[in-house]
Symmetry: C2
Subunit: 206 residues, 2 copies
DNA sequence: GACAACATACATTCATGAATGTATAATGCG
DNA sequence: CGCATTATACATTCATGAATGTATGTTGTC
């Protein structure tokens, strides 16, 4: 029965992968540990060996899959560009197109965009929220730097810019992972462009 | 035990109200029929008398509370305005401020923005989706009319405009009902304005 | 007194978590 | 280096509780 260390880690990864698939397809609370075990090709015994309970699997997924993904996006924001706004635009287009071609990332996104931190997930709400606010702070600093470099209108409020951007992206991603309303390959660029252009009227004076 | 007809309807409303509160606070799947019954001050017997199961309560909430709310918003869009884009702007600000002052509406929003149509809710996905697409079609027609009246740049794509608007609003509402990131009374107008203005750079030529 | 509007009681299902069993890898010791 | 020991990585079994749905009891109203 006893496996080698590599085998053990493979089992753990299988369980995590099975968990994402199930959570993403049926939701966290509609997925039993038996579902996960069966998908992973093990029994609940194996699951309980690697994780304390279902909530811990959720947390492990956040640490192992979601956070690295966010970190990767934010790392790109650290690279200095002569045209930050254009950079941001390209980064988002690239991000969305990458997402369109990576089913696992779609599943991770679906899981963490939809999850409501209630019930057994409540304990993780604060921590996951903190890491999100950290990301938003970096975005705000990014806009601020863009203003300092005179690449962004200085009368815009970085906080409002950040929130606007964040809300739009969140809504877009949620729609994408939950419905077939959005075809990223066709809509990603026009949507991002529209956001940057604004919903301007021709004559907006009374 | 037998009540008058008004009493009966009052019981039904109590159950629905109790359901929104519980669903909104703990999520659909973390709420038991016992929770709802207790909140409503009845037993599960009463709940099962009025509804077949928990999913039917969810559906009743959609029909009784969510749909009328959407209808009300859309009805305002039907009124002809000389400045459609300004009208839309004002409408949204008004909508958001109304939401900020109506806890019940917040609960309904929280429920239907967060719910993932999996498990026992799957049967309602198609219908609720259809009513949503109907709304989006009206929005698209609205933008088209604005273009016809020369109040909106004619080279903008009404579909993209609609999607952009919808994604932003959805993300905004979801953030509002789930976190304390957004203070509608302070942020509603600036955010809406920022959306209409766009995230413009000063120099966006290379 | 018949039936509507519930309350109560019960059967069934199902997920959890813990306890236990077990075969094998890793490790220490002579 | 061979072997006994021990820890590991699970599988299996079992006890518990919670939620559901149903069946039946009760009471008031028309």
């Amino acid at each position: 029965m006893r496996k080698t260390k590599e085998d053990t880690q493979k089992t753990r990864q299988d369980i995590l992968q099975a968990a994402v698939e199930n959570f993403s397809a049926k939701g966290f609370f509609n997925t039993s540990l038996n579902d996960i075990a069966k998908t992973a090709g093990v029994t609940r015994g194996a699951v309980y060996w690697h994780f304390d309970n279902k909530a811990e699997i959720f947390d492990a997924l956040h640490a192992d899959l979601h956070e690295p993904f966010i970190e990767h996006v934010l790392a790109d924001l650290e690279t200095d560009s002569p045209h930050p706004i254009l950079q941001l635009r390209d980064l988002m287009s690239q991000l969305l197109l990458e997402l369109a071609e990576n089913p696992t990332k779609q599943q991770v996104m679906r899981l963490f965009l939809n999850c409501d931190y209630s019930g057994v997930l409540a304990p993780f709400k604060a921590r996951h929220k903190a890491s999100k606010e950290e990301s938003l702070a970096l975005f705000q600093a990014y806009f601020k730097r863009a203003q300092d470099k005179d690449k962004l209108s200085s009368d815009a409020d970085p906080e409002i810019l950040t929130l606007t951007f964040h809300c739009f992206l969140k809504g877009l991603l949620i729609e994408y992972v939950n419905t077939d309303l959005i075809d990223l390959k066709a809509h990603a660029k026009p949507l991002i462009n529209q956001l940057f252009e604004g919903l301007k009227a021709i004559h907006d004076q009374p």
